[in-house]
Amino acid sequence: MDIIVCVKHVPETTDAELKIDPSGKSIETAGLVFDINEWDDYALEEAVRIKEKEGGKVTAITIGPKDSESTLRKCLARGADAAIRLTDPRFEGSDAYAIAKILHSIIKTLHYDLIFTGMQAADDGNAVVGPVLAEMLGIPHVTLVKKIELSTGTAKVNRELEGGLEEQIEVKLPSLFSIQTGINEPRYVSIMGIRKAMQKEIKVVSLVDTGLTENDVGLAGSWINIESVYMPQVEKQAVFLKGTDDEIATKIAEILKSRGLI
């Protein structure tokens, strides 16, 4: 079972206070820690588990500058066998559609039984690349995948609907699945794994090798063009409780008491 996993190197922003970059078109990334996109982390884990059971090869692919190699190293340390990084200054400004075209240009030259993407990326949250890539490759896809059972030539997968409901789908292979978080528990990387991963080769591919032109990628090849990025206006703002921890705790206890909640 040869599996390709498309991964993205994204800033970790859950706990961070974000600021808008002077360009007004992105956030300031200085000081943010970058890591593998959370959904892709589950996708990579699922691929490695299948490989460990069925045999085959896992290839991790990303698009991005040199520093995104740390995400590929992580994939290699987790059990991926090969890694490819697509990079070119002309990829700058690519939206999900252009990204799918770039991924397609390399994946169509590789052998695969399955392709995994994360359901979405934590930064732009488009949830677009997977199904578009599947359409370009002419293979079926299933999004929001929470469970995979493989048989010969087909797979039964559960996809997540709303409110805890799932639907079971039977799909022919080769196929592309966009993986939802919670499908498995991604493993920790061992020191041995990291050491071994440092020695593995990462193949680097640029625009000329893809067969695409500069009109296919970047802004020219995109559906969406970012005009401005800004902090959202809130409908109502919480009353912030300030003071020492004890003072804040006292205020909260008073609020709860006045409402008969304690």
Partner: protein, 329 residues
């Protein structure tokens, strides 16, 4: 302009709320852009549902086919490709839901129609489309233009637009179109629905909920919030990442993929407030949020906010509550 297409979403015989939310917005757009609103519904035995749509839309296109028992994005793609190619609408709208996420990107790629997903706003200037979306789990907004095209496609975030029943029903004409599907979709087939496992706790009937998110960092820290819940007589619930990591069971999950709750008290700890979570709790009577990031979206929904390290403030609140509850001598 031309036509606006709205794809109706239905499951187990019920039209889903997102459909009426989009129809409400689409009616407004149709008016301002002088377009004609067309609702589309595809499925098996759905004539009655088509009638509901005719209250909103001037035309309802109905395609019935016994081969469309459950949702199948390939079947939808085939039928919609035909309808879009024939009618050339200026805009196609559907929900950014489990169905829209499965269908829209593939349909857009097949027809080479520019697509913007998970939109919370859209605005036409002439025939140019600008959309509003959110980045980084709702911490940042983005305004983006969509490349010029004859037809645009958008998916709309749930609960973005409030449903308004038309004062005057549109009395739309229902046009049934024969199904263009010649055979079963072979590559992908709906088998069955899988119901969530019934859990031990019913979080929807609890009066007080203490809710924990990613800020708790590690499973070993769960007792910090558990003890506060105990002191308050509250039930401990959580946001999605906590269930994904297996730290609490899925019956305790609040949000679009979990449960919707409306307790008297919702105390959100270390939860940034992505909309998937907020949709499940924003109607609680009293919301208090604790988060390190003063710009966390959760503070836009909370009555009271505390910007502080949860590991410092939560034990202090717990102690104060125990103290307050003690009978005075």
């Amino acid at each position: 302009m031309g036509k606006i297409f709205v794809l109706a979403e239905h499951r187990q015989g019920q039209i889903r709320d997102i459909t009426y939310e989009i129809l409400t917005k689409a009616r407004e757009l149709a008016e301002t852009t002088n377009s004609e609103l067309t609702a589309i519904i595809l499925g098996k035995d759905i004539k009655e549902q088509a009638k509901n749509l005719s209250e909103y839309a001037k035309t309802v296109l109905l395609v019935q086919d016994a081969k469309m028992e459950g949702f199948n994005s390939e079947a939808y793609k085939k039928i919609l490709s035909k309808l879009i190619t024939e009618h050339k609408p200026s805009l196609v709208m559907m929900g950014h839901t489990s169905y829209g996420i499965e269908l829209a990107p593939r349909l857009a790629a097949a027809l080479n129609i520019p697509l913007a997903t998970d939109c919370v706003g859209l605005d036409f200037k002439g025939d140019a489309l600008t959309v509003t979306r959110q980045l980084y789990g709702g911490k940042v907004n983005v305004k983006a233009t969509v490349c010029k095209a004859q037809t645009y496609m958008v998916t709309i975030r749930q609960a973005t637009f409030t449903v308004q029943k038309p004062a005057q029903p549109a009395n739309g004409e229902i046009i049934e179109i024969p199904s263009p599907l010649k055979e079963e979709i072979a590559e992908k087939r709906f088998i069955q629905y899988v119901l969530p496992t019934i859990g031990g706790v019913d979080i929807t009937s609890a009066e007080k909920l203490v809710s924990v998110g990613r800020g708790i960092k590690d499973v070993v820290n769960i007792p910090v919030v558990e003890e506060l819940a105990k002191a308050l007589g509250a039930i401990l619930v959580c946001s999605r990442p906590i269930v994904d990591k297996g730290w609490l069971s899925s019956d305790r999950q609040v949000g679009t993929s979990g449960k919707t709750v409306k307790p008297k008290l919702y105390l959100a700890i270390g939860i940034s407030g992505a909309f998937q979570h907020v949709l499940g709790m924003k109607n609680s009577d009293l919301i208090i949020a604790i988060n390190k990031d003063p710009n966390a979206p959760i503070f836009g929904f909370a009555d009271y906010g505390v910007v502080q390290d949860l590991f410092k403030i939560v034990p202090a609140i717990k102690d104060k509550i125990i103290e307050t509850k003690k009978p005075k001598l």
